[in-house]
Amino acid sequence: MIGTWIRAGAVALGLAAGTAQAEESFIVVQSTTSTQNSGLLDYILPGFEAETGIDVRVVAVGTGQAIKNAMNGDGDVLLVHAKQAEEKFVAEGWGVERFDVMYNDFVLVGPRSDPAKVKGGTDIVAALTAISDTRAPFVSRGDNSGTHKAELRHWKEAGIDVADASGNWYRETGSGMGATLNVASGMDAYALTDRATWLAFGNKGKLNILVEGDPKLFNQYGVILVNPDKHPGVRVAAAQRFIDWLLSEEGQAAIASFKLDGEQLFFPNAQ
């Protein structure tokens, strides 16, 4: 009885707010800030939406939060970049299957003054070692996102325990890529960022790309259908259509054609 009332109230509210709740006319994609902030999704989605009539609603948060939200069933598709975490997500039954979609790469950005003298390098581990040695300020996402996880892997490889330096020369913002870049720009610090967010970022200040091209900086994106066995509400048909489209020649071509300042940001590599 109470449930009925709540439902009726919610429907009334929904009507008042003008929300349409037609079946499967839309899907929710849990994704990362990099795909949204770079403008990629705004670029490729209209094509899919026009073709299928399916509205793609993107919730852009850090990879960690996106995975958590998807585990709660609050999304139909997961599009993120943290391969290990994604594979774990599928192995635990939260997702159906993981597919490679595209990659871009990470770059190390830092101030023009470059106190650690890492400019022009192609070895991320060596660069991080130099930063640590000179105790030059470094700003980290610190939010368990895909970028954050990648960054931590490189520190580990360099044999540096950043936990010791936390709050000292190593600063964790606990926020998204853009917010973190704003901090780095404000304090002339080094930061690891995905290239797409960096190119689209409008507040670079004195920051430049200093290290790029290391194969270790390769950043793979994967797409996963949230498992309807765990969450029966998942809009399977529409979500599967979106995934199929992303992996299709058409979708892959759309990704490849997205350019910012003449530069291609994402490289499709679906098999």
């Binding site: 709540i6 929904g14 929300t19 800030t33 902030n37 919730v59 609050d74 853009g178 917010a179 704003n182």
Partner: protein, 237 residues
């Protein structure tokens, strides 16, 4: 930095020229927050009046709780509403997460205590003044509630506007339960957060100017109303 001034004027121009997408965002903000205030008024005003006029055990405790709830952190409210509306949550079947309705619900949770607490204060003061007179006229405690609400109308409108100010300027809760989805749940504050994270500080600031403009308009309205109230002797003094 010299580009920044130019960027701001560009952004302001974009807004003033009536960029359709931007105005859709502004309108959604207004729609969500106005509806939230409306629902909060329906909940908060009778509750506040009941607390002002009613006498029951635990009344003081409820008032203390209500006053404390006025300062609820939006992020916590967002998280709680998210946990309720998530597909894994108790109300998941309603499929309300990432809709404007979810944002309205979060804002109602934030605003209702404000309206209820302010209503309680205003009505209690008025009830004290009216008490003997209304009883003399044979108006029962229950029947006095609409009389008090009506006679406190100007102060109550001020309370509503205070609630609206809180709702429209809030970002922490709506970004969690709305998801900041383009064309669906993207409002002024979440756009400001997004554009800031993209480093588009000028656009973010221009939207901030609109938000400030709304805040100023609301406060001017409050001030004009209280001035009128004073002139007409409708205040408590």
């Amino acid at each position: 930095m010299q580009d920044f001034a130019a960027e701001i004027s560009d952004a302001m121009l974009l807004i003033l020229q009536g960029d359709a997408e931007l105005w859709a965002i502004v309108l959604l903000s207004l729609r969500v927050s106005l509806l939230a205030v409306l629902v909060s008024a329906v909940i908060g005003m009778p509750l506040g009046a009941a607390l002002a006029v009613g006498r029951f055990p635990g009344r003081r405790a409820v008032i203390v709780l209500l006053n404390a709830l006025m300062g609820l952190p939006p992020v916590v409210v967002g998280l709680l509403v998210y946990l309720m509306l998530s597909r894994s949550g108790p109300l998941g079947v309603l499929e309300l997460l990432y809709t404007p309705t979810a944002m309205i619900i979060a804002q109602v949770v934030l605003v209702s205590p404000i309206i209820a607490a302010l209503t309680r204060q205003v009505v209690e003061m008025l009830a004290e003044e009216y008490s003997e007179q209304l009883r003399s006229l044979g108006v029962s405690r229950l029947a006095s509630v609409p009389v008090l609400l009506w006679d406190a109308r100007l102060a109550l409108i001020t309370a509503l506007l205070a609630g609206f100010g809180r709702a429209i300027a809030e970002v922490g809760a709506v970004i969690i339960v709305g998801g900041n989805i383009n064309h669906v749940t993207r409002v002024m504050t979440t756009t400001i957060a997004l554009e800031t994270s993209k480093g588009n500080l000028a656009l973010a600031l221009a939207l901030g100017v609109i938000l400030i403009g709304i805040a100023v308009a609301v406060n001017a309205l409050v001030s004009a109303l209280s001035l009128r109230a004073e002139q007409e002797g409708l205040t408590h003094a």
